[in-house]
Amino acid sequence: MNALSKLGRLASVAGLVLAPWLVGCGGHTARTLEMRSALDAGNAKGAIKALDEELDVKDPKDLPGDIKGDNAILVLDRASIQQGLSEFSLSKRDFEAADKAIDMLDLARNAGDSIGEYVFSGSSGRYQAPPYEKLMINTLNMLNYLETRDLNGARIEARRLSVIQKYYRDNLQNKENPVVGLGSMLAGFTFEKSGEIDEALRYYDEALGFTGFGTLSEAVRRIAPLGQYRSPRIKALLHEGEKDDKAAPGLQGADDDTGEVLFVVGYGRVAHKIANRIPIGLALTYFAGSIQPHDAAAANKLAAQGLVTWINFPSLAPGRGKWDIPSCKLDGQYVQLEEAVDVDRQVREEWKKIEGKIIVSAITRLIARAAVGQGIQTAAGRDNVIGILASLGAQATLTALDTPDTRSWETLPARVAVARMRLPAGKHRIVIDARGWQRTQDVVIEKGGWQVVSLMALR
């Protein structure tokens, strides 16, 4: 080997070793630890303060100077917490900024991201939001607009939701995402209250494809005569309604002296990701089914050497509060809530789909680190003690800098429940309680009017 090629190889190795230092950041969960601790203690304002510090902004009204990278996920976290505090304007602004940034990240992902993920760190690539996160951005922001009675804004969010939903359905064959049910229910409500009945029926039809929207039946029967849209599901519902009318005539209609309230209650938090570091031998035992024979052979060889052979990978932490029962009272009487979506279950199902690939990339990084060490040793000379030490040092450093990808939207509610009811026009008191978070709201319902009241108890 001539001196030039030796030098080139050393420079290459040095470049690869230095690259992770230039990234210079800890894992995402480390950035959000303070936020989670504050939320666990029921201190939502403290959680926002912790996020503001991470985003390097002085005020919750400020957006970070750079929202193109992982800051977008922190802005999403802040949007959810603002919604939980009924700061709907701030929540809207954060959701919209994060929505655009996440979309940009998603579209900008390229082969370079995969190279980074497979060579030195799981968190080196651009963030790719899973389907339930993309769908929940527009769903929860629609809720913000409905809370502030801005139907124009809610319609825009409903259309944005439809674009993403269509993309997942047609391009990624992801048809049965229950998050769509909640989004479609809110979109149907938006278009119903905007007087666009056929559009409302189309969305309600979608929502009725999922469980948890029993209270929609009454609304569908009430508005169907005003529109043309019919589907087998809606026809069946109308047919059932006719039978009920014959059995019990004189049910309350829309022309009476009533208005309507829609309750939306999110509670708990979905499972976030945590970093794990385990010996390769143990990883081979845990994830034998996910690893290709070729990778398994290479990893086994490394395990047999017994030197700096650790793999770093993310896994899901337990979710919080999904088994709690929220309560909702209207003028002192309990309102029956229906579960609309178990978001935590979606997180786990989506994780199962990608877990194998993540483990494989972690093992590939381990093999890459070993190759770097081997390269240093070869460049320095096989029996050179300094070369051996440098090789071990480089492998140990790369192991330490290999940051598992723990990025996710951590402040999504674990579950969302809904209720919809008609009530006499006039003043009413609503009290929603979940996980120790409470919202008391006095509402004035006009005849034929409506109100949406929500609580996101992200504890």
């Binding site: 080139g8 290459s12 190795v13 470049g15 690259a19 370079g112 674009v163 093999i367 890459a368 390269g375």
Partner: protein, 198 residues
């Protein structure tokens, strides 16, 4: 892994980590090229100016404008918000578009433009306090209450599509002049704007 790939991997890794450094704040008047860059799929100043240039040139030569020029005293015209039927939160830019059109009309001296603050009050009166938002179906009612002979308003619809590596929004903008008395559309002009992230 073969060591011959190391130089390539090193370059790729360093390239990935050094991208995106060195931000600076730039003033548009010092660097006009910054207005030319599209940063999102929403509407920006460049889109508004292009759309208005084409539309107002058409209005300048329209029969309704000739009628206004020959009417004494000049007729009262109210300008109402665009109806946004797109998937983008572009209402502030649509307001800016109407503001530009309003300025153009005032400067033309052919009509008396009713202030928009007055219109907001009227919308509140017609729609009620709890739902004080512009309803296009009631535009003629607002116009009558304001004593306007003509309304200028518009609508924008959009086609938003997403693929694995691209998001494209096609806008269809319509600007129209409506006779309050008869609800007849006296003039209408459409323009198209397409924005994409790819």
């Amino acid at each position: 892994m073969k060591l011959r790939f190391l130089p390539l991997l090193s370059i790729a890794a360093l390239g990935l980590t050094t991208a995106g450094c060195g931000k600076e704040v730039v003033r548009g008047s010092n660097d006009p090229s910054i207005d030319a860059h599209a940063l999102s799929t929403g509407l920006d100043k460049d889109d508004i100016q292009r759309a208005l240039h084409e539309t107002l040139n058409n209005l300048r030569a329209a029969p309704v404008m000739n009628e206004w020029r020959s009417t004494n005293p000049p007729p009262n015209v109210a300008i109402f918000p665009f109806q946004n039927s797109t998937s983008e939160h572009i209402d502030s830019m649509l307001d800016a578009l109407l503001g530009e059109a309003e300025t153009w009309l005032v400067e033309s001296g052919t009509v008396q433009v009713i202030s928009r603050e007055r219109q907001t009050q009227m919308i509140r009166e017609v729609e009620g306090q709890q739902n004080a938002v512009f309803n296009p179906a009631h535009a003629a009612r607002y116009g009558k209450q304001l004593g306007a002979k003509y309304l200028i308003t518009g609508k924008v619809s959009g086609n938003d599509e997403r693929s694995e590596d691209m998001r494209r929004v096609q806008y269809f903008l319509f600007l129209q002049v409506i006779d309050v008395e008869t609800s007849a559309i006296r003039w209408q002009r459409k323009t198209y704007v397409t924005k994409a992230i790819k």
